[in-house]
């Protein structure tokens, strides 16, 4: 094949950058991460380890009842026991497993439903988009906590319906975000090229659009996880969430709430109901630290060099 004198496509760019591997790039990003992000990541890792290895770490079983109820801190029970003699520390540890596990499952489901429908709406546009968007508007118009309470009292408070109901309600917000960012991508010529090639909806969704909208979705996943987590805790606190004897931080706050009155006699007993509450708070803050950093990194909203 002939080339014009002095010109070839290959030497058009003198030297080509050596591309770093995925691991190298991640490490460089991590090294540049601010201390808050590091703190967040350490906290999240600690929570995950506790959740995964709960049976090995916890001194007692999840619902194991010991003879002494309302035992004080120290001795056999580091944080005392509750009203029917279950070890608070063990329940905190198992609570991590249940609360985080259910919250993760719910968030995944919310993204599957919301994200899936949003991509379909963005690609097909027209009536499909109108219909889906209006359904979402209607769902969003109803206050979600009250709606969740109502649905849970209709379908009963078991783990499955808890997950499905919160996922459906939260998927509306995922839908809105995904549709908005996907709209910017579907107008690109490479999506048109894929359509011209005859590619199906599934390919366009997964291979052409999804990789290009991942950063905002990942950030939203973190935030959504925090909200779902708080919703579950709130529902449990109200008594319609995770049911006993399953350990869960929301219901632990409710069950031990009365202990707070004893703070005047034993300060540590008063602190007991605050332990699950702070477990919730610390995880939420840690997730937010990481999400903040990730958003900064991907949105380009950082200072110029």
């Amino acid at each position: 094949m002939s080339t014009s004198e002095g010109y070839t496509a290959k030497d058009e760019v003198g030297q080509v950058r050596v591309r770093r591997t995925w691991a190298q790039r991640t490490w460089i990003d991590l090294k540049k991460a601010p201390p808050t992000a590091w703190l967040g990541m350490i906290v999240i890792t600690a929570y995950l380890i506790v959740a995964l290895f709960a049976p090995l770490i916890a001194p007692y079983g999840e619902a194991e009842i010991t003879p002494n109820s309302y035992a004080p801190w120290g001795g056999d029970h580091m944080f005392g026991t509750d009203q029917i003699g279950r070890d608070i520390l063990s329940r905190l540890i198992f609570g991590a497993r249940n609360t985080i596990g259910i919250a993760l499952a719910t968030t995944f489901l919310a993204f599957l439903i919301g994200g899936g429908f949003a991509l379909v709406a963005a690609i097909s546009r027209g009536w499909t988009d109108q219909f889906l968007s209006r359904v979402v508007d209607v769902l969003m118009a109803i206050p979600s906590l009250i709606f969740a309470l109502m649905l849970l009292s209709i379908f009963g408070s078991n783990v499955t319906s808890l997950i499905v109901i919160i996922a459906v309600l939260d998927s509306t917000r995922v839908f809105r975000l995904t549709r908005a960012v996907a709209m910017n991508v579907v107008v690109m010529e490479y999506v048109e090229a894929a359509k011209l090639r005859g590619e199906g909806l599934g390919w366009i969704m997964r291979r052409e659009i999804l990789p290009n909208i991942m950063p905002p979705l990942v950030a939203e996943f973190g935030l959504r996880f925090s909200f779902v987590f708080l919703t579950i805790a709130a529902l449990s606190f109200l008594g319609v969430g995770i049911q006993p004897p399953t350990a869960d931080w929301g219901s632990m706050v409710r069950e031990n709430a009365s202990l707070i009155q004893f703070a005047q006699f034993d300060l540590r007993a008063g602190i007991t109901p605050l332990l699950p509450a702070s477990a919730i708070a610390i995880l939420t803050i840690a997730v937010n630290f990481v999400v903040d950093w990730f958003l900064m990194k991907t949105s380009g909203l950082h200072d110029e060099h």
């Binding site: 010109y7 496509a9 290959k10 080509v16 950058r17 591309r19 010529e189 090639r197 005859g198 990789p211």
Partner: protein, 542 residues
Amino acid sequence: MSTDKNDVLLNIKDMVIDGFSDEKWHEIIKGVDLTLKKGEVLGLIGESGAGKSTLGLAAMGFARPGCRLTSGEIWFDGVDLMKQSESAKQKLRGARIAYVAQSAAAAFNPAHTLMDQTIEAGVRHGLVTADEAREDAKKLFAAMDLPDPNNIGDRYPHQVSGGQLQRAMTAMAMASRPDLIIFDEPTTALDVTTQVNVLAAMRNAVEQFGTAAIYITHDLAVVAQMADRIKVLRYGVEVEEADTQTMLSDPKEAYTRSLWSVRSIEKEGHSVDDKILEIKGITAAYGKIPVLKNVSIPVSRGKTVSIVGESGSGKSTAARVITGLLPQMEGEVLFNGKPLPLRLKDRSRDQLQRIQMIYQSADTAMNPRQTVGEIIGRPVEFYTGKSGKAAQLRVKELLEMIELDESFLDRYPGELSGGQKQRICIARALAAEPELIICDEVTSALDQIVQEGILKLLMNLQETLGVSYIFITHDIATVRAISDEVVVMYQGEVIEQGSKEEIFQPPHPAYTELLLASVPEMEVGWLERTIDTLGEKRAAMG
């Protein structure tokens, strides 16, 4: 202001500018000198990445984000801008040095009227009162040959055309009667017929006010009309500099000569009776607004049909009808003698495979999250059913066809140059083993040298593979280079069609006449000689 031509206005000495990428500073401008006398126009040319815009901005003592002025001197009218504070430099910018950007549409604020934006700099610098500035702006609008100069200032940017906006921007730059204007590719985004007017208006304004100017472009014919002297840059170093006449007739360096010879591709046009595609009596509309009116275009097998016209002429819409993206209201598209279904989704995979498309902007035509291997591999897999080793082999073969090698397989589009990206797009189209490729302005976004490479590649591929092209473009030089047959479109209608020889031979219909006459030629003084006759031709069209 003195207009003594011998006074040096701007003197840049041994300028070094760094750019930040890959977490390191790299030299973009490697020690360039530049001298500009009062009232003189200097043309700065070179391919993209040569550093011409960066150097142009440095003349204002400005480095865009991610760049820094590392060393050197910038003497502007007796002061070294390198030693001035940021606020002192800001006082100069917009008052004594002005800047005209490439895309006027992006540079204007859509929320304010043209007038408000034109007078803003002068009023902010406290040079004039708002009322005086308004009166003056009207005179400038008139000098820039804008229609209805007294009232056009009340319009918003979206209410005027691209060419008018570009002229309004020049008026804005002129408003404070600067000593120096930097034009950064001001006509690159315009149609040829519009470009001529803008060039003439800018040239007049510069002469009338005795302003010195740096004119940055990659279009040689344009710079020949505008500049007194030309400086050629490449890879951040000066290649050569001479006055325009000498530079055009007797360039010293081989690189400059290669720039000059770009427009030299020629081939003889042939037409055959065997038609691969015929569109017959097509009428199409977006909503209720018709964009194509009774358009018929035949495409000979193994040949190239060019569709020429300015933006809004319906040439890209014709491509959308052929590909099925926009179903026509009347008429039919015959492919190999058989009508194609109206809609994309009614077409079989086989029908889709035979017609492929290459886009103007390779940046948006390739998924930034897919590697070159995936981009080319997908159509191979999708249409030919090859997978694994066989598919890989085919992808490598395709890379060879476009004169690249397999080291490109795992690169992402962001890591490629403009020409390489367009080559990958060509390979993606070839991967489907098509009979017809629609090329929609495929070379418009590229530098001349790269353009030439792409055009030669397309011609070679046609010779070896026998593929037919529909080549949509607004560039007459490209049409001359590659077509067998030409279709001229204007406002949704075919004005003239026939073999290349016929089209370029007079007599022409009025629009073709105007279009052909608007293409700048590579000689000094062409603009002055032509501008009046162009006006007559425009008037003849009504």
